[in-house]
Each structure stands twice: as structure tokens, then as C-alpha cells.
């Protein structure tokens, strides 16, 4: 499908500078927007900054909600309260991101990802988290892990959990 040569016809040309590297913008870096102008659950992040791990619980029906919410998914009430969650949990299942990380996480691999059980006073709560401080090969189902707060350079915060090799689990290795 090559065009037929048309001879020395003058055409306009301009060279453009190569496009620079684009920094990963908000909403492609995975961390949620956290301030009061962006989200109704901004207290979660304020509490996290203070060292408290919290979520919403419905005052109308008593349901413990994860993730923190604006409206109860069980009874649709907006009368929610902030409650403290345990900062120690038990590993229910674990794996690692060895290959294929998303943008911004390339330098971190391999890292451990786990489902962790928190024994709250209302109901068992299982949540997904990254686990620092331990390799997947050193872990077992049932290991104990503790909350760790991550401070992002732009002022945002998030949580992970942290573990250590061979701490108490009796379950399956990787």
C-alpha cells in the first residue's frame, strides 16, 4: 500500500522534541484522594495519621463496614460512627507480587500480599494488605502481623502490615 512517488513536491516539515517522561498522575497511582474536599471518609486518613486504624460502623443496625463508607450497605442509614480496629492480625492466605507490578511499584518487587483476619468485637474482618518485613518463603498461614503506617511524600497516608519470619503460624507454607 505504498503511495506512488510523486517527485520533488515541497511539503512542510517540523521536528517536535520527544515527549518527556510523564509522572504517574493522581488516580493512576492507586492511593485514594484523602482530604475533606475529596471524600466523605476523610476521618479514616486523619485517624491513620494519628496512629489509629478505624472504620465505620452503622449506629442504626450495628453492622461493621469495611471499607469505611458514607452509607450503610445493610440498612442504608447514614448514621455511622468511627470505631477502632485491632492493629494486630492473623494471616489467612498470602502470596507475593514477583512479576508484573503496576506502575510505581516496579522497584518494590518481590513483595508480599496477604489476606489478614482481624478479630474485632463485632465480627471477624478479613482485609487485603501488603506485608512488609518478610518474604513469602518465610511465612505460614496463621502468622501474626502488625499495622504499619505509610507516609507518602505528598502528605497522603496509607496502611500496610508488617511481619517477621517464623512467628507462630502453624499452617501451609507457600
Amino acid at each position: 500500500m505504498s503511495p506512488t512517488p510523486t517527485g520533488p513536491v515541497a511539503v512542510f516539515r517540523e521536528s517536535l522534541a520527544p515527549r518527556g517522561q510523564i509522572d504517574v498522575p493522581y488516580l493512576l497511582d492507586f492511593y485514594p484522594l484523602q482530604s475533606e474536599e475529596h471524600t466523605r471518609i476523610h476521618p479514616f486518613f486523619k485517624h491513620l495519621r494519628e496512629g489509629r486504624f478505624t472504620t465505620t460502623r452503622c449506629k442504626a443496625c450495628g453492622e461493621l463496614l469495611w471499607q469505611p463508607r458514607a452509607v450503610c450497605s445493610k440498612c442504608l442509614s447514614e448514621d455511622l460512627e468511627w470505631v477502632e480496629l485491632p492493629t494486630e492480625g492473623t494471616v489467612y492466605a498470602f502470596t507475593a507480587m514477583v512479576r508484573g507490578p503496576p506502575l510505581g511499584m516496579e522497584a518494590d518487587i518481590p513483595f508480599v500480599i496477604a489476606l489478614v483476619d482481624l478479630d474485632t468485637q463485632w465480627r471477624p474482618l478479613r482485609l487485603l494488605t501488603r506485608i512488609d518485613g518478610v518474604q513469602a518463603g518465610e511465612m505460614r498461614i496463621g502468622d501474626k502481623v502488625r499495622l504499619k503506617i505509610i507516609n507518602l511524600a505528598d502528605g497522603r497516608v496509607f496502611y500496610r502490615f508488617t511481619g517477621q519470619a517464623g512467628n507462630a503460624g502453624q499452617g501451609t507454607k507457600r
Binding site: 471499607q67 502470596t95 514477583v98 507490578p101 500480599i113 487485603l128 496509607f158 500496610r160
Partner: protein, 389 residues
């Protein structure tokens, strides 16, 4: 409600394609129109496009009219794009079925398409990770492989499923895919190749995972009354089911029994008026080796917890029943998200029409197609028959 028939299907080569999203749509359209008689693009009144992430992978939105333009279709009844991640293709088929069944559409086309191979792999992986709850699960680096790895670890822990069981799923996919020139990975593998492939998310290795694949497939649907205008060998939609529970991983009841799959299967069997043992062959969503094991169990093809042993014993291979994933599965075909459900339907149609190579030809009148999406929190099922219901 009118009974609905599928009268033709077309398929592109799946793989790392030197072709754009639009070109894949064009190829699938040409192949689909070639599979039927008496039909030109302008006679199609409705278009349903299954496309999971064109905004991310092809930086293109408003894709239903764009696809219609590529196909030469000028829809006058219904025009829709369907996004249900890995089940986008089946979602589009179900919508076309509804529209014809209620009399809104007469001749509908379904196209499933995904262009996934882009120059920057981490950018692709980010797009895959935001299929999960981006702010609470994806943020921890979780995407599909880690999620299904967690399921695999728990299934091994609870039921004694082994590395060898996972390997057997991949070996079977390879045997079938080797008969399929449209497959991304049209070849067999050895046990050693599977078990020594690079680690992705333990216990899952590269060959436990379906590929990052470009491809498209298409179907023509019409009412049962009109089916024979377009083909002598239509297939019919007998039943369907779909269900979802939770999205954030915290709100999933179990990693090893997929509750919404059991709900969807119950409704699909009920609406078709059949039981699981009536299914002759099936196309199920083996995005990872562990998925086929759990799906085989939760569809009722074997006892709970015995999926690995069931597959390893050859009962889902040629000669068993139901035979599962004759197309080569997602593992062998690759998994262009929006195309997969449509590709499965094309395989079932071609099985009924005796158009597949003899090595993978199966006999039977009833087939099931299953797709899961996201972290297995949504499941979609269609039941197809060689004869009218």
C-alpha cells in the same frame, strides 16, 4: 419471550497482534459475516460490543458507534458497549439475547474485542489492577495473579489440591490449544516446562496464567423463526444465569467456593430446565489453572474439593463428560478480556456445526459457557443447545 438463535460466528487470530483495536474489530466483522448467508452489515439492526478497557489499553471511549463504523453497521434499534471486565463478551451476548427475546432487535451482532499489548507493561498491569477495588485492594499491589494465588493457596490448604493438579489443567489446555490455529499459545507443554516456568505469584507460575492477548470475535443473533434464513445449523440459547457478591476482597464469603458462581449456575440450570449432569461439554473461565479447578467443582461437574483430581484423571478431556475447554481455554487461547466470552460461544457453535478439527470434536446437544470477572466476585453463564429448547 421469543426463542433466540445464534446463526454465525467469526474469530480473529489471538496473540500479540500487529493490529489496532479498530483493525481487530474489522477482522472479526469480516469473519463473522462470512459465516452466514443472506446478510450484509446494513441489515444488522443492533450492535452489542464487549470491551473491557479500551479507555486504558487503546485510549478510546464511546466505542460502540466506533465499532459499528468499523463493521459497516448502521444500528437502528440498539447500540451498546458492555464492560464487565473479563466477562464483557458474555455480558454483550446476554444483552443481545434479551433484546431479541423481547422483540426490540431482530438481527443483532455481538463483537467482543480487546487490544491489550501496549508498549509499557507496567501501564498495562496498572489497568489490570484497577479491575480490583483500586483504592483498597489494588493499592496493595494486588491484581489478578496475586488474587488467584491466594485462592490456590487456600484450596491447597483446605482440600489438598497439589502442584501436579494445577499442572494437569495447563497440560490439558495445551493439548486442545495445539489443535486451534487461532490460539495465542497453540502448542503443548511438558510438566517440567509448566513447573519450571517463571514465578509470578506463588504458587502460580507463568504457565498457570492466561496470556496478555489481543483478539476479537463476533456472533450474529436472531430469533429462532428467522434463524434458517442465515444458516442451516443455528444454535439456541436455552438458559442463563448471572450473580455477584461483593467486590472488595473483604466482602467475599469464600476464596475456595465461589458463592455467586453457585447462584448463577443454579439459575442457569433452572432457566434451561436441566441439571449439571445434562451438560455434554463446557467452556469455562480458566484465567488461571486454579480457576478451572474451582469452577469445575462449583458448576457441579465433580464433588467439592475434588476438582484437581477430577481434571487430572482425564474426566474433562476427550472421552470424559462434560469435556471442558476444547477451544484451548483462556490458558491456551490467551485472554483478550472483551473477546473471551464471544470466542467461547464461537467454539460451541463450531462444535455443534462440526467445524472444529477432528482431534477436539465432541458430540453433544447441550453446552455451557462460563465467565468470571474481577476477583471472581461476578459470574456469568449461558447454556447453548444444538436443538431448539
Amino acid at each position: 419471550m421469543r426463542q433466540v438463535a445464534i446463526v454465525g460466528g467469526g474469530h480473529t487470530k489471538f496473540g500479540v497482534r500487529k493490529a489496532t483495536w479498530k483493525e481487530l474489530v474489522q477482522e472479526a466483522g469480516k469473519a463473522t459475516f462470512a459465516s452466514v448467508r443472506n446478510l450484509t452489515p446494513r441489515m444488522v439492526d443492533s450492535l452489542f460490543v464487549g470491551a473491557a478497557e479500551p479507555e486504558r489499553f487503546a485510549f478510546q471511549s464511546h466505542v460502540a458507534p466506533l465499532a459499528a463504523e468499523q463493521l459497516g453497521i448502521t444500528p437502528t434499534r440498539v447500540l451498546q458497549r458492555h464492560e464487565l471486565a473479563c466477562a464483557s463478551g458474555q455480558s454483550a451476548i446476554r444483552a443481545a439475547w434479551m433484546s431479541i427475546a423481547m422483540g426490540l432487535s431482530d438481527v443483532a451482532m455481538v463483537v467482543g474485542v480487546e487490544k491489550m499489548n501496549i508498549p509499557n507493561l507496567p501501564e498495562l498491569q496498572s489497568s489490570m489492577a484497577c479491575v480490583l477495588d483500586r483504592e483498597w485492594d489494588g493499592v496493595h499491589g494486588a491484581s489478578a495473579p496475586p488474587f488467584f494465588a491466594l485462592c490456590a493457596q487456600r484450596h491447597m490448604h483446605e482440600y489438598g489440591t497439589t502442584r501436579e493438579h494445577l499442572t494437569e489443567v495447563r497440560l490439558k489446555a495445551g493439548r486442545f490449544a495445539a489443535t486451534n490455529p487461532n490460539a495465542h499459545f497453540a502448542k503443548t507443554f511438558t510438566k517440567e516446562q509448566v513447573e519450571k516456568s517463571v514465578e509470578i505469584s506463588p504458587p502460580l507460575r507463568l504457565l498457570d496464567c492466561s496470556g496478555i492477548t489481543d483478539g476479537a470475535a463476533g456472533l450474529i443473533l436472531t430469533s429462532a423463526e428467522r434463524a434458517r434464513e442465515f444458516t442451516d445449523t443455528p444454535m439456541y440459547i436455552h438458559g442463563t444465569g448471572q450473580a455477584s457478591q461483593g467486590h472488595n476482597l473483604s466482602n467475599m464469603e469464600s476464596l475456595t467456593t465461589w458463592t455467586p458462581l453457585k447462584w448463577a449456575a443454579k439459575e442457569a440450570y433452572r432457566s434451561a430446565g436441566i441439571r449439571s449432569r445434562d451438560i455434554d461439554f463446557a467452556e469455562v473461565h480458566d484465567c488461571f489453572t486454579i480457576s478451572e479447578i474451582i469452577v469445575t467443582e462449583d458448576l457441579g461437574f465433580c464433588e467439592k474439593g475434588k476438582g484437581g483430581a477430577h481434571i487430572a484423571s482425564g474426566q474433562t478431556d476427550i472421552g470424559g463428560r462434560p469435556v471442558v475447554n476444547t477451544r484451548g481455554g483462556l490458558l491456551g487461547m490467551g485472554h483478550p478480556l472483551g473477546a473471551t466470552g464471544v470466542s467461547q460461544a464461537v467454539e460451541i457453535l463450531w462444535q455443534f456445526q462440526k467445524k472444529v478439527p477432528p482431534k477436539r470434536q465432541v458430540e453433544g446437544d447441550l453446552a455451557l459457557a462460563h465467565n468470571l470477572s474481577g476477583s471472581a466476585n461476578a459470574h456469568s453463564i449461558l447454556i447453548y443447545g444444538r436443538r431448539p429448547k
